[in-house]
């Protein structure tokens, strides 16, 4: 059974945020305006997070870090969901069942990475914007929590395709939109359980680290730090 994971090389990443909008487009994230943005109600499943410098002579911005859902192996959000609307499947993807979620937002508060989003209102696409909605991804209703699904629909499509052609799925056939878009190939995606995969090798390289590692959430999105 594959264990899907991602590495993000912060040395290659230029913080262009191509991943951010690629995700918004792929996953039907609704457009929001200044009012929503300032109230923390915009949707960025993939978000660019600036870390301000600390210490004696701080760099004003120490680091810029693209943050999808980290798909923890030990996800704090899944534990707390009262209705099992969020779950970790056998391939390690932390998914969300939009049709079951009751909108209590316990998972959103439990996630130490603030990677979950809530539909405060019914998402709107002013005419004719809804024409660009991706038919593979459902539109969420108001009152439910949503999050990065690692473009799970792409996995389903790739799997269907492979099944139709009666062959196993090939590496690289399933890639989330952010990884596909990344202009600098800073993001790699693949099977962490396969020691030969690129992503697996990178995840075990010297530069690899996990975000808030001491929390023990065991993220499957692994960063490669800047520097030698």
């Amino acid at each position: 059974m594959a264990k899907w994971g991602m590495t993000i090389d912060l040395d290659r990443c230029t913080a262009c945020q191509g991943c951010v909008t690629a995700c918004q487009l792929e996953n039907n994230l609704p457009p929001t305006g200044p009012k929503e943005a300032h109230a923390g109600r915009n949707y960025t499943w993939m978000e660019m997070i600036p870390f301000e410098g600390e210490g004696e002579r701080p760099k004003p911005i120490e680091r810029l870090l693209p943050r999808p859902c980290l798909h923890c192996d030990n996800p704090p959000c899944v534990k707390v969901c009262p209705v099992g609307a969020t779950f970790k499947n056998e391939e390690g993807i932390v998914g969300q069942i939009f049709t079951r979620c009751i909108g209590c937002r316990y998972c959103t508060t439990a996630c130490p990475y603030t990677a979950r989003y809530f539909n405060w209102v019914t998402p709107e696409w002013p005419e004719p914007m809804e024409d660009h909605l991706n038919p593979d991804v459902s539109v969420r209703s108001k009152g439910v929590v949503e999050k990065c699904t690692l473009c799970h629909h792409r996995l389903q499509n790739a799997r269907d395709q492979a099944r139709a052609e009666d062959r196993p799925m090939r590496p690289g056939e399933y890639t989330p939109a952010c990884v596909e878009a990344c202009p600098t190939s800073a993001m790699q995606f693949g099977d962490l359980s396969d020691p030969e995969s690129d992503v697996s090798k990178l995840a075990h390289s010297r530069r690899a680290y996990k975000l808030l590692e001491d929390l023990g959430t065991e993220p499957k999105v692994i960063y490669l730090r800047e520097g030698e």
Partner: protein, 805 residues
């Protein structure tokens, strides 16, 4: 079954939620069957169509995912040499532009006087009729030059068509509003190489980069390539991680990703470059061989009259000692020494000057000074150095014009006399005076082609006022914008993804690239493409103007482009990513596209691949790279010397000779009691030079790297703020000699203490729902100075004061 058909898309997608939910838990996957019912059954369910990203001048290749006639997704074209399958943030937002609710859909006629903001929908025939009437009258009166077109960010076919149209019609007044986008460092290259081409940078092979306010990762003309170049520079060579030093008044995105940020006073980058040159020359660290073989004007020289002239070396040694540089730039003397030594010992090293779009321009002399550093380390046209783009032109072939036109073309251009812009073909900033003063002659018809000068020029409001003197103003724009208020007619635009188009561009390594773009979906009714618009205007004027645009539609024009490329006999349709083997294959086949024996095959391949490229670049082609008479790199610009000769100025020749050298600031900026701070206006990444500002996703992310969005803020250094008694949630009034703005404060250690920084990109008075009235436009504060060599406005000379309100 019927029920499914009756679902609208939205309901369908909501219903899909149920299916996804089920599928996600592994219960069932009936998804694909649902999809079958979800639209008209005629079109194939899913197609990927080649297109070109219209968001910035980079010209990336897109594969647009079309499902049931709607564009619903994007992928980068993996074979496209510019983006190699990548998509930057702006590319993914393109569908928000295509399906934007605020796009104009009908031609609009101003009723109730200009500036009233009242518009009436009219039909295309009436709108174009007004224009052709005016234009034919002008031609009949023998003053075709009284028509002026200001070009915005549209490129490719639109630009080519307008060039041909204006030439055939007989007006020299086609002015670029964003010369930075299209030229960048070109003026500096013209001065030093004598070549009319931009620079490429071979970052993948470079060992050290010194970038001067380059906006490399903030607002490069090709974000995609800049990002990819950076990544290759950083990690392309296992075991070797080169150093990137960034010099800028503000801690920009580029500074964040660089290894070191060196703060510098705005507009003094050239001075620092020459300070570095000083150390290199004094310590003998420069590449003597390159300078001797390929440099001119380095040492003192003697002009034709036998008078000795100062060379680059003497000037630099005399005027740019590090101690002095420190007083001008604020960069510590020690840092100047260190940078010089690092730069000259880590070869190949690169010095990057500003090469981006956005706002304002960098001073040409500064750019020349920075580029001289490349020459001093011999990083010109070598691997890991600077490359010069290989020439590429399509649909530019000359054609004969009639007498009226040729007389018109000889009229003095409206955008300033040549002595004000020796290194630039045109300067929109200089157009304002001509419009306002009706000199050298009154402008009778002004066309704004996707251009919003009132917003984007420092003197935008004055441009708007000057437009009042023009009897006919036509704006061709997809949205309302600040300039439209002053127009008589607005002609809406068909989105680039709805039409045939092409774009010419280059990879950063200098390979020419032509991208072709297919219409990805059915065009909305009642909209004309920019080409159809200009062609119908030309047709209304009859021959010979009409015959300048011989192609019936965009598709035919693209056909003509392919024909030219095929006839050129070089390069090939986009192919596999491995350029090396591709190049070898081409070489062995005698530079011919290997799979295209005839035109039809060639065209088919180009359309299927998404474009054409010539992936060959030979280094050290000195004849091509240095086109000045001496065939060398001109530390003292031979091009400028010639220009001063041809278009004389009332100054003594010794001064003029000095003006051929990169003369950068040597005086310390005097203290100003009323305006003690310097204002640094910078481009907001993703927003300042994007083709359409009305995109919520881009507004959302534009300031994300400093925790800002959807507003314009002023950055103040913590010490300065403390001194002024300003704290983080305050509003501050920024005052300059030109104007004032009240802005929210951001206390930011990433500006120099004596500098305040304001982002440019927001503050539109007109436009769609996601940009109108949001933020402020710092252009109103800018005390712009014209660059003495290009005439474009420099935004870096403004002084300001701040107080809490």
């Amino acid at each position: 079954m019927k029920d499914w058909l009756d679902l609208n898309r939205r309901e369908f997608l909501v219903a899909l939620g149920a299916a996804y939910g089920a599928a996600a838990t592994g219960l069932a996957a009936p998804r694909s069957r649902f999809l079958e019912y979800a639209g008209d059954d005629e079109a194939p369910r899913e197609r990927f169509i080649n297109a070109m990203c219209p968001m910035c001048p980079g010209g990336c290749g897109l594969k647009v995912r079309v499902v049931h006639g709607c564009a619903v997704g994007l992928r980068g074209n993996e074979d496209h040499p510019i983006n190699r399958g990548g998509l930057c943030s702006r590319a993914s937002a393109v569908l928000q532009d295509v399906y934007n609710p605020d796009r104009l859909t009908k031609p609009l006629k101003c009723v109730g006087g200009r500036g009233s903001g009242k518009w009436e929908e009219i039909d295309w025939d009436t709108a174009l009729g007004v224009i052709t009437d005016k234009l034919s009258t002008l031609r009949e009166q023998g003053k075709p030059h009284a028509a002026c077109a200001v070009m915005g960010r549209d490129r490719g076919l639109t630009r080519a068509a307008w060039q041909r149209f204006m030439r055939a019609y007989g007006s020299p007044n086609m002015v670029d509003l964003h010369p930075e986008d299209n030229m960048g460092v070109l003026p500096a290259v013209l001065a030093t190489h004598g070549a009319r081409q931009r620079l490429g940078y071979d970052l993948a092979e470079t060992s050290y980069v010194l970038s001067f306010s380059s906006g490399w990762l903030d607002e490069h003309w090709s974000m995609e390539q800049a990002a990819r170049g950076f990544a290759e520079f950083r990690r392309g060579r296992p075991g070797f991680r080169p150093k990137w030093i960034h010099v800028e008044p503000r801690h920009s995105l580029t500074a964040t990703k660089a290894d070191e940020w060196i703060p510098i006073r705005p507009g003094t980058e050239g001075t620092l470059a020459l300070g570095i040159a000083h150390v290199m020359i004094r310590e003998g660290l420069y590449d003597r061989r390159f300078v001797a073989e390929h440099g001119s004007g380095f040492d003192d020289w003697t002009d034709r009259d036998g008078v000795s002239r100062t060379g680059f070396k003497r000037m630099v040694l005399q005027d740019f000692a590090p101690a002095k540089v420190q007083t001008v730039t604020g960069v510590p003397e020690g840092a100047v020494f260190r940078l010089a030594r690092e730069f000259s010992t880590n070869r190949p090293a690169l010095a990057l000057g500003s090469d981006g779009g956005g706002c304002g321009a960098a001073a040409t002399y500064d750019r020349m000074a920075i580029h001289c550093l490349n020459a001093l380390v011999g990083s010109i046209d070598v691997p890991g150095g600077v490359t010069l783009f290989r020439d590429l032109s399509v649909l530019q072939a000359d054609f004969d014009v009639d007498d009226v036109a040729s007389r018109g073309l000889l009229s003095p251009p409206l955008d300033g006399p040549a002595q004000k812009r020796r290194l630039s073909d045109n300067a929109a900033d200089l157009l304002i005076d001509s419009l306002a003063s009706s000199k050298p002659y009154p402008t009778e018809a002004l066309f704004l082609v996707d251009a919003d000068p009132v917003f984007s020029l420092a003197e935008g409001p004055r441009f708007g006022a000057a437009m009042a003197a023009v009897p006919l103003v036509v704006s061709m724009s997809a949205y309302h914008n600040d300039t439209n208020r002053h127009a008589d007619l607005i002609l809406p635009q068909l989105h680039a993804l709805n039409r045939w188009d092409f774009n010419t561009g280059h990879t950063l390594k200098g390979h020419p690239v032509v991208t072709v773009s297919n219409p990805v979906m059915k065009a909305p009714p009642d909209l004309l493409s920019p080409y159809d618009t200009i062609r119908r205007i030309a047709a209304g004027l009859g021959d010979p103007v009409a015959s300048a645009l011989p192609w019936e539609d965009g598709q035919q024009a693209v056909d003509a482009v392919c024909r030219e490329l095929f006839a050129g006999g070089k390069g090939a349709a986009f192919g596999p990513a491995n350029e090396e083997s591709w190049a070898q294959l081409l070489e062995s086949r005698g530079w011919r596209a290997p799979f295209s024996e005839n035109f039809d095959d060639f065209k088919r391949d180009v359309l299927a691949g998404g474009g054409w490229t010539d992936p060959i670049y030979f280094h050290r082609e000195w004849d091509r790279v240095f086109r000045s008479p001496s065939g060398k790199f001109a530390f003292s610009s031979a091009y400028l010397a010639k220009s001063f000769e041809a278009i004389p100025e009332a100054t003594e020749s010794a001064v003029l000779a000095r003006r051929c050298l990169p003369i950068c600031r040597t005086d310390q900026r005097r203290h100003d009691q009323a305006y003690p701070l310097e204002l640094y206006v910078y481009s907001l990444p993703n927003l300042a030079s994007v083709a359409s500002p009305n995109l919520p996703w881009l507004n959302d992310i534009a300031g994300a790297y400093v925790f800002e969005k959807w507003r314009t803020w002023v950055e103040i250094h913590p010490e300065t703020a403390e001194h002024l008694g300003i704290t983080k949630h305050d509003q501050a009034e920024v005052r300059t000699a030109r104007g004032r703005l009240v802005l929210p404060v951001k206390i930011f250690a990433g500006v120099m203490p004596e500098v305040i920084a304001i982002p440019f990109g927001l503050g539109r008075k007109e436009g769609g729902r996601w940009c109108k009235g949001i933020g402020e436009n710092p252009a109103v504060l800018v005390d712009a100075q014209a660059d003495p060599l290009t005439g474009t406005a420099l935004w870096t000379q403004t002084r300001a004061s701040v107080r809490r309100v």
